[in-house]
C-alpha cells in the first residue's frame, strides 16, 4: 500500500477517534468549550489530510462540519443535543469513507449524495454557511419562494420509493411542519403515470414547500429521514465570519514504529532469556571445581537476569497498546446495526483506556464486533416486548474492559431477553448437534455453550445483520487463538453477559511443568483451575471412565499419560490438574507437578502443527524443548 495512504489510514482514524471522544464529552456536557476546541482541531486537521486523497465528498463534508464547530467555538451558535447527533452522524460518514478508501482506494459512487445529506443535516447550516446565500439557492427553491414575503425556508422532501412498506406516510410528516405556507406534490418521474401504470404502494412523489418557521424547526419535522430532505433558507445571509487561524495541535511526542520491528525485538529478547537460563547449570558444574569462580558466575548470572527482566518489561510495555483504537469503531457500528434493525440502543464503553498486548488488541476487533451484533440483534428485544417487560425502550449494551491481575477482562453485557437454555437445547438437537438425551443431561451453563458449536444458530429468521449462524464458533476460535477464554452468563428476561479473559502479557507465558508418561510437559497456568492431590480411593469408576468429587461437584478424571499415548504410574495418591473445557471442569491425572516457569511459547510449526492438543513449544535453559499442551483441545 502507498506509504502516504497507510499513514493517512492510521492518522485519519486517530483524528476521528479524537473528535468522537470530544463528542462523547459534549453529549454529557453540551457547550463544554474544551471539547468543542478538541473536536474543531481534529476536524480541521482531518480536512487537511483528506484533501490529498480522492475524497472530495469527505472534504466538503468536513468543511461544513468545521464551519459548524467554528461557530460553536465563537459562541454564535449553541450546540444542542440534536446538533451533536448530526455532527456524530457526519463523523460516522467520514469514518466510513476512510474504510472505503482503504478497501477500494476511492469513495463509493453515492458519496456526493451522502455528503449532501450529511451537510444538510448539520445544525444551523442555513444560518450562516456560505452555501445558504441566495446565490447558491437552487432553482427549485427560488421558484417555490417566488412571491413569498420575508425569510422563508424552502424544503424538498424526496421519500424513499419503498417508504410505504415501512409504514411511513410522507404526507403526515409534512403536515407536522410548523408554519407551512405552501405545499407542492410533484411526480419524481417528471409526470404522473397513466391510470393503468400506477403502482399504488410505490412512492413516486416529491414534496416541496415553504415554511416561515426556523430552519431548525422545519428540519425537526424530518429528523427521522435527514438524508431525504434538502432545506434552503431564502434570504441574503450575513457573510460568514472568516475563521481564525486554527490552533495547531501541539508537537507530537509519539513515534510510530513498524510493528514487525517490535516483534523482532521481542523475539530476540525471548532468546536472550533462554540463553541466560543456561548459566545456572553452568554455575553448578563449576561449583565442583572452583567455589569462588562458581560464585562469580552466579553473581554475573543474577546481574544479567535482572537486566534482562527490566528489558523484558520495557519491550512488553512497547507492545502494549491502548484498546481504544480497536474499540473506537464499535459505537459507530452499534449505531448502524441498531438503525438497520430499528432498535434504539444505548451503547456505552468503559475502560477503553486500558492497555493490552498488541496481538490481543488486534485479534479482538472481529470477535467483539460479532458479539455486539448478536447482542443487538438477538439479545435486545423489539420495542413491544421491552415495553411489555417494563424495560426502557432503549436497549442497553455495555462493553467493559478491565485489568484483573495478570489478565485482561472484557465484558459485553446487554439488558435484553437473555438466552433460554431450554431453547438452546432444543435447537441444538434440531440441528443434529447432539442427541436429545445428551442435551437433557447438560447443565444450564453447559447448554448455553452450545451456541459456540459450529453450525449453531438460534435466530429463527436469518437477518442480514447477524448472518447465518457462522460466527459464535468463530468468536470462540478467535478468543482461544489469543489464549483467552469466553464465558456466558444469562438470566432469561434480564440479559446476557459475555466475559472474555486474556493474558495481559502475551510475551511470556507462565507455565506449570508437569510429568506424565516419563516426560515433562508445560501447561499454561491460566488454563489451570487448580491442582489437587487426592487419595487413590477417592477416584470412582463411573461407566468406562473415572470421576472424583471435588468441592461438591463430580468431575471426570482423565489420565494425561493415556491421552498422550503412554502408561500412567499408579500410586497411593493421585495428582490432579483441574482445567476447564467448554465451561465444564475436567481433572487430568499427572504423575507429578514440577516447576513453574516463565517461557516464550512459540506456536507449533512443522510436524507439531498438525498434532491436536499441542499449543506450542518452548526452549528450556538446558537447550531441551518443552512441549506445551493445549488442555481444552486435548480433552475435547
Amino acid at each position: 500500500m502507498d506509504e502516504l495512504l497507510a499513514q493517512f489510514l492510521v492518522e485519519g482514524r486517530d483524528l476521528v477517534a479524537q473528535a468522537a471522544a470530544a463528542f462523547d464529552v459534549l453529549a454529557r456536557d453540551p457547550g463544554n468549550a474544551a471539547a468543542i476546541d478538541d473536536a474543531f482541531r481534529a476536524i480541521h486537521t482531518l480536512k487537511g489530510s483528506v484533501a490529498i486523497f480522492p475524497m472530495a465528498a469527505a472534504e466538503r463534508t468536513l468543511h461544513a462540519f468545521e464551519d459548524v464547530l467554528e461557530r460553536a467555538r465563537k459562541g454564535s451558535m449553541a450546540l444542542d443535543g440534536a446538533g451533536t447527533v448530526a455532527l456524530v452522524a457526519c463523523l460516522d460518514g467520514v469514518d466510513r469513507w476512510i474504510d472505503d478508501v482503504e478497501l477500494r482506494g476511492a469513495l463509493g459512487e453515492d458519496a456526493d449524495g451522502v455528503a449532501a445529506a450529511l451537510i444538510a443535516g448539520l445544525p444551523g447550516r442555513e444560518a450562516a454557511a456560505p452555501v445558504s446565500s441566495s446565490a447558491a439557492t437552487p432553482d427549485w427553491a427560488r421558484q417555490l419562494a417566488d412571491g413569498a414575503e420575508g425569510p422563508v425556508v424552502a424544503f424538498r422532501y424526496t421519500p424513499d420509493p419503498d417508504c410505504f412498506f415501512r409504514g411511513e406516510d410522507p404526507l403526515a410528516i409534512v403536515a407536522t411542519i410548523p408554519d407551512l405556507r405552501r405545499l407542492d406534490i410533484r411526480s419524481a418521474e417528471g409526470r404522473w403515470p397513466a391510470l393503468d401504470a400506477i403502482e399504488p404502494f410505490r412512492c413516486i412523489s416529491i414534496l416541496e414547500g415553504l415554511s416561515t418557521a426556523s430552519p431548525e424547526a422545519v428540519r425537526a419535522a424530518f429528523r427521522m429521514m435527514p438524508d431525504q430532505i434538502a432545506l434552503h433558507r431564502i434570504e441574503a445571509a450575513a457573510p460568514a465570519p472568516a475563521p481564525d487561524a486554527p490552533a495547531e495541535a501541539g508537537p507530537t511526542t509519539t513515534l510510530r514504529i513498524d510493528a514487525a520491528r517490535v516483534d523482532a525485538l521481542a523475539d530476540g529478547l525471548g532468546e536472550l532469556l533462554v540463553a541466560v537460563n543456561a548459566l545456572a547449570p553452568l554455575a553448578a558444574r563449576v561449583e565442583a571445581q572452583n567455589h569462588a569462580l562458581a560464585a562469580a558466575v552466579r553473581t554475573a548470572q543474577a546481574d544479567i537476569e535482572r537486566s534482562a527482566a527490566n528489558l523484558q518489561r520495557s519491550v512488553a510495555a512497547v507492545r502494549l497498546v491502548p484498546l481504544a483504537p480497536t474499540l473506537r469503531r464499535l459505537p459507530r457500528l452499534a449505531r448502524e446495526i441498531a438503525a438497520t434493525l430499528g432498535k434504539p440502543i444505548a451503547f456505552a464503553m468503559l475502560g477503553d483506556g486500558l492497555e493490552v498486548d498488541k496481538q490481543i488488541a488486534e485479534g479482538l476487533s472481529e470477535p467483539l464486533l460479532h458479539l455486539l451484533r448478536n447482542a443487538i440483534d438477538h439479545g435486545i428485544e423489539d420495542a413491544a416486548t421491552r415495553a411489555a417487560a417494563g424495560k426502557p425502550a432503549e436497549g442497553r449494551v455495555t462493553l467493559t474492559a478491565s485489568r484483573e491481575g495478570d489478565a485482561v477482562a472484557i465484558t459485553l453485557a446487554d439488558d435484553g431477553g437473555g438466552i433460554d437454555p431450554a431453547r438452546i437445547r432444543a435447537t441444538a438437537v434440531a440441528r443434529g448437534l447432539l442427541e436429545a438425551e445428551a442435551a437433557d443431561q447438560l447443565s444450564d451453563p453447559a447448554a448455553l455453550r452450545l451456541i459456540f458449536a459450529p453450525g449453531f444458530s438460534t435466530a429463527e429468521t436469518v437477518t442480514g445483520v447477524s448472518g447465518r449462524g457462522v460466527g459464535m464458533d468463530a468468536v470462540q476460535a478467535a478468543v482461544e487463538k489469543l489464549l483467552g477464554t469466553i464465558a456466558i452468563d444469562s438470566t432469561p428476561g434480564q440479559g446476557t453477559r459475555f466475559r472474555l479473559r486474556f493474558p495481559a502479557n502475551a510475551l511470556t507465558t507462565r507455565l506449570l511443568v508437569v510429568e506424565a508418561a516419563g516426560d515433562r510437559y508445560g501447561v499454561a497456568l491460566d488454563q489451570v483451575v487448580e491442582t489437587v492431590r487426592v487419595a487413590q480411593s477417592a477416584l470412582l469408576p463411573i461407566g468406562e471412565g473415572t470421576a472424583c468429587v471435588l468441592r461438591g461437584r463430580t468431575v471426570p478424571v482423565l489420565s494425561l499419560a493415556r491421552l498422550l499415548g503412554g502408561t500412567e504410574q499408579l500410586g497411593a495418591h493421585a495428582k490432579l490438574l483441574v482445567t476447564s473445557a467448554e465451561g465444564e471442569r475436567v481433572a487430568l491425572r499427572v504423575d507429578d507437578f514440577a516447576d513453574r516457569i516463565d517461557a516464550v511459547v512459540r506456536p507449533p510449526s512443522g510436524l507439531l502443527a498438525g498434532v491436536s492438543g499441542i499449543g506450542g513449544a518452548t526452549l528450556l535453559g538446558d537447550g531441551g524443548v518443552l512441549l506445551v499442551l493445549d488442555l481444552p483441545a486435548l480433552v475435547a
Partner: protein, 77 residues
C-alpha cells in the same frame, strides 16, 4: 371502511391508509372519470393522494381537516 363506492361517487371517509390506495385505484380503473368525494376525509395517506394526483378524477366536497383543505385540495383541482 374508508373507501365507499356508490352509484354517483367514490367516497373517501375518515383516515385513509396506504392500503386504501389500491381500492381507490381499482375503483377508478373500473370507472375512469368517476367523481371522488373528499367531504368526509380526515386524513389521506400519500399513497392515496398519489393515485388522485395521477388519475385526476373530478373532486367534490371540502374535507373538514385543515391540512387537507388548505394544501391538498388545491393540488387536486
Amino acid at each position: 371502511m374508508t373507501v365507499r363506492i356508490d352509484a354517483d361517487a367514490i367516497h373517501l371517509i375518515g383516515r385513509c391508509a396506504a392500503e386504501d390506495a389500491d381500492t381507490l385505484l381499482v375503483a377508478l380503473q373500473d370507472a375512469p372519470g368517476r367523481t371522488v368525494d373528499l367531504g368526509a376525509a380526515q386524513r389521506l395517506h400519500l399513497a392515496v393522494a398519489q393515485v388522485l394526483l395521477a388519475a385526476r378524477p373530478p373532486i367534490r366536497g371540502m374535507p373538514a381537516a385543515d391540512f387537507l383543505a388548505r394544501y391538498l385540495l388545491n393540488l387536486l383541482q
